[in-house]
């Protein structure tokens, strides 16, 4: 199987998310960067599928050149090919991102052949537009289902499970197909030392692309207003138990 996964580099904020003075970006001056959990699981799922069915995994990102870090991480856990669409702006709007990614997929397919499966995250961790995967799938003319938490491939069909209240919905999507996955579909592996070393040498293919701006424009980012509550300290050890149980009684959860 040939599988492609689209991942996005995002900052990894701690206790709160700060915004730059111009309101255009998350202030990442003191932050590390990561791949969104959904997409990390998408990479893991792709690697597992090729371990079972054979084949290769390509990981594609659109972002600053530093996003090479996230691509190399994917290589350290088993991805074979890495492609970066470099941009210099803070973030591209969803239409523009999707147009560029669809173009990049076409480029890669022209050289290496078509992908059986293309995986996305359910939504990006930062922008959360819930659409880039759907747009790319439509541009490529392939079926797409989002929110997937289980994939089995057999006889040219991806049987995909989507969580609903108390169970799963099942979709049988013929390949080539596009799926958006959610964290929880698997437990991603950690890189091995060997994987880490190999990823340092992996080639990152640069694919410069242009695309016109879409109709959604950022004015500014800001933090929601928080209601700060005073914290009542009930104790500093197990002797706090009676006070805690008093509280539980008060709240009526001790029926």
């Amino acid at each position: 199987m040939r599988i492609l996964v689209c991942v996005k580099r995002v900052p990894a904020p701690g206790a709160r998310i700060n915004v730059t003075a111009d309101g255009q970006d998350v202030d990442s001056a003191h932050l590390g960067f990561t791949t969104s959990p959904h997409e990390e699981c998408a990479v893991e799922e792709a690697v597992r599928l090729t371990e079972v069915h054979g084949g290769e995994v390509t990981v594609l990102t659109l972002g600053p050149v530093e996003a090479e870090e996230q691509l190399r991480y994917a290589a350290s856990v088993g991805a074979h090919h890495l492609v970066l669409v470099p941009i210099t702006e803070v973030d591209w709007d969803p239409q523009r991102t999707a147009a560029a990614l669809a173009g990049a997929v076409a480029d890669v397919e022209a050289v290496g052949g078509p992908f059986d499966l293309i995986l996305f995250g359910n939504e990006s961790a930062d922008a959360g537009g819930f659409q880039v995967g759907v747009r790319v799938a439509h541009a490529l003319g392939r079926p797409m289902v989002n929110g997937i938490k289980g994939i089995d491939v057999a006889d040219g069909v991806a049987s995909a499970r989507r969580e609903i209240d108390g169970g799963f919905e099942v979709y049988n999507v013929p390949l080539p197909a596009v799926l958006g996955v959610k964290e929880g579909i698997n437990l991603p592996r950690y890189p091995t030392m060997k994987g880490r070393l190999a990823s340092k040498k992996a080639e990152v293919v640069m694919d410069e692309r242009s695309a016109g701006a879409g109709g959604q424009e950022r004015v500014r980012l800001h933090r929601p207003v928080e209601t700060v509550s005073e914290t009542a300290i009930l104790g500093t050890g197990p002797e706090a138990a009676p006070a805690i149980v008093d509280l539980l009684e008060e709240l009526g959860v001790l029926s």
């Binding site: 904020p13 206790a15 759907v134 209240d165 914290t231 009542a232």
Partner: protein, 324 residues
């Protein structure tokens, strides 16, 4: 000309969030000078649509087709596209659930127009609309503008309450038969698997949460005991699921479950913002942490600054003592 609300339903059972979208859409339609219409798609649409007039829909479109046996994001999206073209709808609104967002993304891709997901407020003006939407699962807000001939917007969950209109609307029923290509059946639900019933993490009145501070999978046993004593369930942080100590279905947060219990007992959890957005709807939070500066502690209503391995069993013992 109309503002069309896409109503989600499961084989005739209307999703509460669809009524939230209608409640959000009522003032928006007035401000934009549009009529409020609703569309319900597929088998069960008629049953699902009974309350829509009471909730303000002037027109209720019931879309049916042999292919629309169950939910299918592409078939639903294509149906909405054809309805928009047939009625000249100026805007489409959906609830910001996974389904609502996915269907609107399909509509957007097909109409080649922008789609702004998970809005908290929308100001319609003659030209561009402006809105505030959520990013980072609600940890951050974005003011944005939307420029398009057909405006596509989803409403973040729980921004408005589902409530009937002050006076019911006409609710004129208008059947609609889209023309669907057979290939769209590729993404229609074919089966369902029922896993569990009863109280879930999302609905439990008590959640006993554990983080990295719990230390191991076995370390969760005392939390299980306390949870069962309180008729609640155990939740956890991503550090815990990443370590394989608990299944992902127990994870609270941006990429896990949003909880809203009477009380959330958060032990050994630092309270990273991605965890906090999943926990903040709890009515009360009790943090148990050895670090008085931990974000979970400073944001909690109550806290105990101590080792959770001592405090959790002591709470269970005290409850049992009082119960005799």
């Amino acid at each position: 000309m109309s503002l069309l609300v896409v109503c989600d339903h499961d084989r005739g059972h209307l999703a509460e969030a669809s009524l939230e979208a209608l409640a959000f859409g009522r003032p928006l339609a007035v401000a934009a000078g549009l009529e409020l219409a609703a569309v319900v798609i597929g088998v069960g649409a008629e049953v699902a649509s009974t309350d829509l007039a009471a909730h303000g829909a002037d027109t209720v479109h019931l879309a049916s087709h042999d292919l629309l046996t169950d939910f299918g994001p592409e078939a639903w999206g294509e149906t909405v596209v054809q309805l928009v073209r047939a009625t000249g709808a100026k805007a489409v609104l959906a609830c910001g659930t996974d389904r609502g967002n996915e269907v609107l993304a399909q509509v957007a891709a097909r109409l080649e127009v922008p789609f702004v997901a998970n809005c908290r407020t929308v100001q319609p003006t003659d030209g561009d609309w402006s809105m505030t939407r959520i990013q980072w699962g609600g940890s951050l807000l974005e003011d944005a503008t939307l420029s398009a001939d057909v405006k596509l917007v989803s409403v973040a969950h729980h921004v408005v309450e589902a409530a009937p209109a002050d006076s019911p609307a006409a609710g004129a029923v208008a059947p609609f038969r889209p023309n669907l290509d057979p290939s769209l059946s590729a993404t229609v639900v074919v089966d369902r698997v029922v896993l569990r019933q009863g109280i879930t993490l999302a609905t439990s009145p008590v959640v006993v949460g554990g983080g990295r501070g719990v230390g191991s999978a076995e370390g969760f046993e005392p939390l299980e005991e306390l949870a069962s004593e309180l008729g609640g369930v155990v939740g956890c942080s991503r550090a815990v699921t990443n370590n394989g100590w608990r299944p992902h279905s127990d994870q609270v947060g941006q990429t896990g479950t949003r909880i809203s219990p009477e009380i959330y007992i958060a032990s050994g959890i630092s309270g990273a913002i991605q965890h906090w957005v999943g926990a903040m709807a709890a009515k009360n939070i009790l943090a148990i942490n050895i670090d008085p500066e931990a974000n979970m502690v400073t944001r909690a209503d109550h806290a105990v600054i101590a080792d959770l391995h001592q405090v959790i069993p002591a709470i269970t013992a005290e409850i049992r003592r009082r119960r005799g």
